[in-house]
């Protein structure tokens, strides 16, 4: 073991190439507009027909690796993909991702699954690996394709697609994990699940309850291990798994009422005002990306972290408390220090710019694209996909850079090609 800080050295978000405004989706589906504010969503990312969990992962990680020296790239000894959109019972998404990222063969590959918690479990594994192998780095990629359509009701406008790549190493530039400062809470519950590749099931009430129960349990465990922690004063920033902003607002209120507010659960309006002010200061900065991408499954917490850093652009160090929850269910509350180098490191990825340049879909275009997301996840022996059939849409995304696309499946083996910018014309 070494005593050098370990954590997230660099990170990038891939939020897709297209989006639909939540208001257009509400109107198209005839959802109750009174519930719009409660959801707190502006847009959801939508996958194109040549995108799948592999392309999302590679398109998130490739720009991040492009900034590394050959030596740093070759020091990546562990690649973990975290997904609930797995493509095979045996072969990992990581195996395809490894092939297209051009990483060294001297690397371990793994796919992790625990709904929206998997990336945090993978980050723990990666940090443990880095601690045991001085000089080594690990790459964790949370990647998912949503199935949410009309069946998902109000969850549809809140569900995103995409990937978040985290480079984990020593002397991290983005987030240094506080050693030993972590609490966990897990138990079996059927709140949401994906029993087949093309079907999500969800009990919304049960899932929200499980999330809040886990938050209280995991923070309680954290505080037992870090007795000096004070939820109102220790953390400059609080970042939560963000299925939608309304959930995070409820989670923050619950945490403050249970552990922070002077008068406990029976506190009145004055207490509520204080909690709202605290939310605006310490939590709201993390919501800017989730609000325009949607729930990024296990990448959601890290999408929120990226948003907070890009919004605040901290000049000095900030202590962050982070809560990760995955249905089923498993959760962790942990803390770390957002480094003074975080803002500059993230700015190089231009996450906001790329999210902003996504093509705006009409509801009709959206409905045409939606079934393809499901098709990308359902196993078939043979299939051809022509990315150039979507040239008009691709051409609506300026400066999209080089992207990996799914082009065929032959005897269950997936094949991918790079689409370079400006080469969509055949």
């Amino acid at each position: 073991m070494n005593d050098r800080p370990i954590g997230i050295d660099a990170m990038n978000v891939y939020g897709g190439l297209a989006r639909i405004a939540a208001r257009d989706l509400f109107a198209g589906r005839g959802l109750d507009p009174e519930r719009f504010d409660n959801l707190g969503m502006a847009a959801r990312s939508v996958a194109l027909p040549f995108e799948d969990p592999v392309t999302h992962a590679v398109n998130a990680a490739a720009p991040l690796l492009a900034g590394l020296s050959a030596e740093d790239r070759d020091s990546i000894g562990f690649l973990i993909t975290a997904t609930e959109s797995g493509l095979d019972y045996s072969k990992s998404v990581a195996s395809y991702v490894h092939a297209h990222l051009g990483l060294s063969p001297a690397v371990r590959l793994l796919e992790a699954k625990q709904a929206c918690f998997a990336a945090t479990a993978a980050l723990r594994l990666a940090a443990g690996y880095v601690a045991a192998e001085p000089g080594a780095k690990a790459l964790v990629i949370a990647t998912d394709v949503a199935l949410a359509d009309a069946r998902a009701s109000y969850a549809e406008p809140a569900t995103g697609t995409g990937a978040v790549a985290l480079l984990v190493g020593e002397e991290p530039r983005v987030l240094a994990l506080d050693p030993g400062a972590t609490g966990a809470h897990s138990f079996e519950v059927q709140d949401t699940a994906r029993p087949t590749p093309d079907r999500d099931i969800a009990d919304v009430d049960r899932s929200l309850l499980a999330y809040l129960e886990c938050l209280v349990g995991a923070y309680g465990d954290y505080r037992a291990r870090v007795p000096e922690a004070d939820v109102t004063g220790t953390f400059d920033l609080l970042v939560f798994h963000t299925p939608f902003s309304g959930m995070v607002k409820a989670a923050h209120r619950r945490l403050m009422r249970e552990f922070g507010a002077p008068d406990g659960p029976s506190a009145g309006p004055a207490d509520r005002r204080w909690i709202d002010e605290d939310f605006a200061r310490r939590v709201a900065p993390s919501l800017c990306y989730p609000d325009v991408v949607g729930n990024l499954f296990s990448g959601s917490l890290y999408l929120a972290l990226a948003g907070a850093i890009d919004t605040l652009r901290p000049q000095g160090e900030l202590r962050a408390g982070l809560f990760s929850y995955g249905s089923g269910c498993s959760s962790e509350f942990f803390s770390g220090v957002v480094r003074d180098t975080a803002a500059g490191t993230l700015a190089a990825m231009d996450i906001a710019g790329r999210l902003d340049r996504r093509a705006d879909l009409t509801f009709a275009e959206y409905e045409e694209l939606l079934p393809h997301s499901t098709s990308s996840l359902v196993p078939v022996a043979d299939r051809d996909i022509d990315p150039y059939a979507w040239k008009d849409l691709l051409d609506r995304v300026p400066d999209r850079g080089r992207l990996l696309a799914l082009t065929s499946v032959k005897d269950h083996h997936r094949h991918y090609d790079w689409i370079a910018e400006g080469t969509t014309a055949r």
């Binding site: 919304v204 009430d205 049960r206 929200l208 999330y211 129960e213 409820a250 619950r254 659960p265 309006p269």
Partner: protein, 85 residues
């Protein structure tokens, strides 16, 4: 009153009322009658989750989440909590 089983049904109902008003201050506590569901009282799914976790924590009730369904009335919720205390 025994410290493990002594909480009366009325006390559980009062606790549910208090948490409901804390989470949704706009609700008149007089409207929170046992026959109503939290949904009927104007609590959305997030409100319901906040209210129920708050009550469960305060009463130290270990209620399996599988038992809770969104259509339960305040009376049914109180009875479930009483049974699992």
């Amino acid at each position: 009153m025994s410290d493990t089983t002594g909480l009366t049904h009325d006390e559980i109902l009062r606790t549910i009322r208090r948490h409901t008003v804390a989470v949704v201050p706009e609700i008149d506590s007089a409207r929170i009658v046992p026959e109503r569901t939290l949904d009927e009282l104007g609590c959305n799914s997030i409100d319901r989750a906040e209210i129920l976790t708050g009550v469960l924590e305060e009463l130290d009730v270990d209620l399996p989440l599988e038992k809770l369904t969104s259509g339960a009335t305040v009376e049914e919720l109180a009875r479930l909590m009483g049974e699992h205390r």
